[in-house]
């Protein structure tokens, strides 16, 4: 294949990664922004979304599209409920202290991982794509489902943005993010806001996982990469900045796609890590983060 079409293919693959990464990282960014909690277990909520999607694909009869549609709705809800429970049972008791919650979410990571290993097993299992469609370009053919992943992720992110900027719930979350004590002085139940935010962050990771699992496979150790890349994206974009997170996800996703296609996936991770190092040295608050 010539260079031009090859680059186009790399960019399209990178765009799929960027879309999924933007969803996952925006969940992590939202949780840090509103709660000041660095959620080390975020990747495990991603994994739970994928594993739950596999279970749904086994239990729901009929064509794969039906099971997929059910998974896209039910799995994020299950994961969100689990996250809200974790917040109320663990993080709330630690008063959402930043250092304590890092340790607590490391513990949560292992609990969720081992629970998945026990219930789901060590195998990597495929989940069928909801539809088979091939997009035929003059130079190569491409999966139509991947185009759907990009579109679905963009739609969810648009919905998230509208929720944050146009709804009462979004206003409450932004006020809590700015000053939780003053928010409380105006009748906002910060405990509920935190539980809701933690649930929403986990649900976004689960949506990303349900979307990607027909391309990858569900596995109990699959949470590591999304967690690492999400941290990279959130640090580059600026902790708590949704706009920064989206732009950084696009940057990292595309560079990952191009470098992985032309060179090696490992080199892509090295470049991403180098970018984080540069940002931490020259602009520690990230591209769009507020200076401390």
């Amino acid at each position: 294949m010539e260079f031009g079409p090859f680059l186009l293919l790399a960019l399209m693959e990178g765009l799929v990664g960027a879309a999924v990464l933007a969803l996952t990282a925006s969940g992590l960014s939202l949780v840090f922004g509103v709660m000041r909690v660095v959620n080390v277990a975020h990747g495990e909520f991603f994994m739970l979304g994928a594993v739950a999607a596999w279970f749904v694909s086994q239990w729901v009869p009929g064509p794969p599209a039906v099971a997929f549609a059910v998974a896209l709705v039910v799995c994020p809800l299950i994961v969100a409920a689990l996250a809200a429970l974790a917040d109320l049972a663990i993080l709330k008791r630690l008063k959402h202290e930043p250092e304590a919650t890092i340790v607590a979410t490391i513990g949560l990571l292992y609990i969720l991982q081992q629970a998945a290993l026990t219930v789901y097993g060590p195998e990597a299992r495929p989940v069928p794509a909801p539809f088979e469609m091939r997009l035929q370009l003059p130079w190569f053919g491409w999966s139509g489902y991947k185009l759907f992943v990009i579109g679905a992720a963009a739609a969810v992110l648009l919905g998230l943005w509208l929720m944050l900027t146009r709804t009462r719930a979004g206003l409450v979350m932004r006020a809590t993010q700015i000053d939780r004590e003053t928010a409380t002085a105006f009748g906002i139940d910060v405990t509920r806001v935190h539980a809701g935010t933690f649930a929403l962050g986990a649900a976004l990771a689960a949506v990303a996982a349900v979307l990607i699992v027909p391309i990858q496979q569900a596995h109990y150790l699959m949470g590591g990469d999304p967690l690492l890349l999400s941290f990279i994206v959130v640090i580059i974009g600026g902790l708590g900045s949704l706009r920064g997170t989206l732009l950084a996800a696009l940057l990292i996703g595309l560079s990952d796609g191009v470098i992985s296609t032309f060179f090696q996936p490992t080199l892509a991770k090295i470049v991403a890590t180098l970018l984080v190092a540069l940002v931490l040295v020259f602009r520690p608050q990230g591209l769009f983060g507020a200076r401390a």
Binding site: V172, A175, A185, D189
Partner: protein
């Protein structure tokens, strides 16, 4: 009526309020004066549930509030304008008001009534709070608290650092609130402001109200100002 009876409050063993008793009645401005560190701000924060109360009781119209979760206290009609305003700086003026309206206000009617008091804010509804002038920010802080339709409003040094025209506007607002039947608790350090506005004055010293006197009994040279405030 807001009542504090023998309240101890602080963090752990570090008590700031020690047996503080205080009353604020509807349609009255009760000024709170005292030196830095006397416990004025802590008193307001204890009323709002932001500082733990370890002894005594705080009641609003007979209902105990110091045992409630802090977010339930504004729902009963206690508005708070903290020191330094603490606006939601990246939110617009309209969004700051909406935060106040969510809990107790009657929507558009309340907002219109509040904006009638502060017409300048009406022109800046779409502007982010952080970009307002100091005086406008203070107006917004008070307007946001009024969106709660409060029975009691706690104002912590609202004229601090403002130019004279803004100070006059805020004093007019305090008089209007008194006329509306609101119990106003005003932490203030300037004797002339207190004499101009107050119905009663509470002098706070080392975490308790040392004297509570009608403002009419105080003159510019009243010895309490020198004794408790140092002016």
């Amino acid at each position: 009526m807001l009542t504090l009876d023998a309240v101890d409050a602080g963090f752990g063993r570090a008590l700031v309020l020690r047996g503080l008793s205080f009353r604020a009645r509807p349609s009255e401005v009760t000024c709170v004066m005292g030196r830095n560190g006397a416990g004025k701000t802590t008193m307001l924060r204890a009323i709002m549930g932001q500082v733990p109360v370890s002894a005594g009781r705080i009641t609003l119209d007979g209902q105990r509030i110091e045992t409630l979760a802090p977010h339930l206290i504004p729902q009963l009609g206690v508005g708070y304008v903290p020191q330094g305003r603490r606006l939601f700086g990246s939110l617009t003026v309209a969004e700051n008001l909406d935060i106040g309206l969510m809990t107790r206000g009657r929507g558009r009617a309340t907002r219109d009534r509040v904006l009638d008091l502060f017409p300048r804010l009406r022109e800046r509804l779409g502007q982010t709070a952080a970009t307002l002038s100091g005086g406008e920010q203070q107006m917004l802080a008070i307007a946001r608290a009024l969106c709660l339709e409060p029975k009691v409003i706690l104002l912590d040094e609202p004229t601090e650092g403002l130019q004279p025209s803004m100070i006059a506007a805020i004093r007019d607002t305090v008089r209007t609130l008194r006329g509306m039947g609101v119990a106003v608790v005003l932490v203030e350090q300037r004797a002339e402001a207190v004499l101009d506005l107050a119905d009663r004055v509470a002098f706070v010293e080392t975490g308790r109200v040392a004297e509570m006197v009608p403002a009419a009994d105080l003159g510019p040279e009243a010895p309490q100002f020198a004794r408790y405030v140092g002016v």
